[in-house]
Point group: C2
Chain length 349, copies 2
């Protein structure tokens, strides 16, 4: 019998249809071939002039900006959805509301190697990619007009990647996305009642139960959520309560690189390199300077940053778009078992 | 410059990226070939024994149930996500909540013709399809456990249609989908303040403005919403306030068949038969019997039923799934102009 499960954070019900349980081999989506050869790829070394000038770069040597020699490179999106220049210009249009498209839209090129993949980057390299996320996040948080900074990755054309060369996107916006907003509200209300973090409680329950745990180590835990919307959906959380990815220590980022690489390789192994998205959920840019002594006093500290990993292996999205109602054909306990059993793939790019 | 637009009903902000405006020819998604030939299609006449026994049927002649001779046929889904039998069994699982998958999952086969399409069904025929929607809605509303009855269509494999033979799905659930829930809440709060229907006010503003109107006649208006999430997204609303599709008169259903057929053909013409979903949004099954004298007194009468038509022509969905934040590359004013200009395609199947 199928069942309905409720996500206490997003407050969404999901139909988990156990009888129709899809096995990993039923979920594989064929990927279209990459169409741009490395020679003309704007993200490849030697083609730096094809992109806007770089914003941030990791160089282990003394090569000049916008030339080869980099390890990770951050550039503005050539066709940005949002721009930093201008006024917010909030105003009403009859009963509607609008504001100017103020914000930032950047691309983090993860490697000079055209064929590298996030899942198989060496740990040192993935750590530098995560550092780039953090550097850009910290820098943009200084702009008080930017309420939220989204960092997300599209892997594979089906997941929305228009260029095959491995990259992550950053969009900074003057509003907080609705899904993320609901998470903050749930965490705030939960804390008001219980004086505990909702995510910390979820983590404790998942660790005790064990059936949905994919990987745990001293610093991070990845599980398949109880009310997973999609087959093989995963949430990666730091064990220790922390509201913002921007404040993670260099040591924690190194442990994150180890953990994230492993769970992405498990996913790649089980679903044979599926298209996927991952989205970093971190606290909004409220402009409040953290004070240790007031740890729980503002909404942003009730939050617990995490990464959501969303494989794109089912086609049932149109109906879900229209209703916010999801039917998941693979119970998360089955997905977690497959992911736990997956032996490590070869760990090099 | 792109801009952010706010949807007062779903309370979602959308980035409308005017500079990147995609023309219709940039949006065409190639459709994979249908793989099941008519001879073995379970929805074709002569193959009635391949499906569960029919629930409802339109027959213009005296042919027996589950045999050829029907015009529109409603059957239970062979692999239902939800079933009518059993107890709801609501309970907590630690801090999570679950209930049994009680509900209904039905398929409305729109025509005996394997190659018929909703957009090009003759008006008389489409009217019978809409009658089938209404009959099933009315019947299932008698079950007080069912809080919401969703009627939606997937056209094309990309939009989630697993069988090419034209059909609509119905899912009755013991909870109201979150997206629809937010619509009710917005309508209720708006009415509490203004004593007017939010959708009626949107309709009035759209008619006055005109730039987003696709088609209007004496009974229905279709427009592209101000904060459209997707290119060529449309909302079809009755002009006269009405909370429930279940109460629409036979005359209104006939006018709906004329209007809906026309806007679907416009979409087909402009985007060259794109995959799309449509979702009927109607008031929830609160169990309150309508009384004319208390028109505005309960939440359900504040609502205004409508059809959302969602073309599936962009691939930017993964990020949107994770955040509830949308980037729409085609401003709705441009989409509406294309749809208004589209000459009528040939109106027969």
């Amino acid at each position: 019998m199928s069942e309905l499960r409720h996500n206490p954070v997003t407050r969404r019900w999901v139909i988990v249809a156990e009888e129709r349980a899809l096995r990993p081999q039923d979920l594989i989506v064929p990927e279209p071939e990459a169409t741009i050869p490395a020679a003309s790829c704007p993200f490849c070394p030697g083609n730096e002039r094809k992109t806007p000038p770089e914003i941030w770069c990791w160089r282990d040597n003394a090569t000049p900006p916008n030339s080869p020699g980099w390890t990770v490179r951050v550039i503005p999106n050539k066709y940005p959805a949002l721009r930093v220049e201008g006024e917010l210009a909030r105003r009403g249009v009859g009963l509607y509301d609008r504001m100017a498209g103020i914000g930032a839209h950047e691309v983090i090129i993860e490697s000079p190697d055209h064929d590298a993949e996030t899942a198989t980057l060496p740990v040192d390299h993935l750590e530098k990619v995560l550092r780039a996320y953090q550097e850009r996040l910290r820098d943009l948080m200084r702009d008080q007009r930017l309420k939220y900074i989204l960092i997300f990755k599209n892997h594979g054309a089906t997941a929305g990647a228009s260029l095959a060369h491995s990259h992550t996107q950053l969009i900074a916006t003057s509003v907080t996305p609705s899904e993320v907003s609901m998470e903050f509200q749930s965490c705030l209300e939960y804390h008001q009642v219980k004086e505990r973090c909702l995510y910390c409680d979820i983590l404790a329950q998942e660790l005790e139960d064990g059936s949905r745990i994919v990987r745990e180590d001293a610093h991070f835990v990845t599980h398949t959520p109880y009310a997973s919307r999609f087959p093989f959906e995963m949430v990666l959380m730091p064990r220790r309560h922390a509201h913002s990815f921007a404040e993670a220590s260099p040591e924690l980022l190194r442990h994150l690189a180890i953990h994230l690489g492993d769970v992405l390789r498990r996913l790649k192994r089980v679903l044979r390199n599926p298209p996927y998205n991952f989205v970093l959920h971190t606290s909004p840019n409220t402009g409040v300077t953290p004070k240790r002594s007031h740890y729980w006093e503002t909404i942003q500290y009730d939050y617990h940053w995490h990464l959501e990993i969303l494989p794109r292996v089912t086609r049932i999205a149109g109906f879900e778009w229209g209703t916010g109602f999801y039917i998941n054909p693979t119970p998360p306990e089955i997905a977690a078992a497959h992911l736990r059993d997956a032996r490590e793939a070869e760990g090099t790019a």
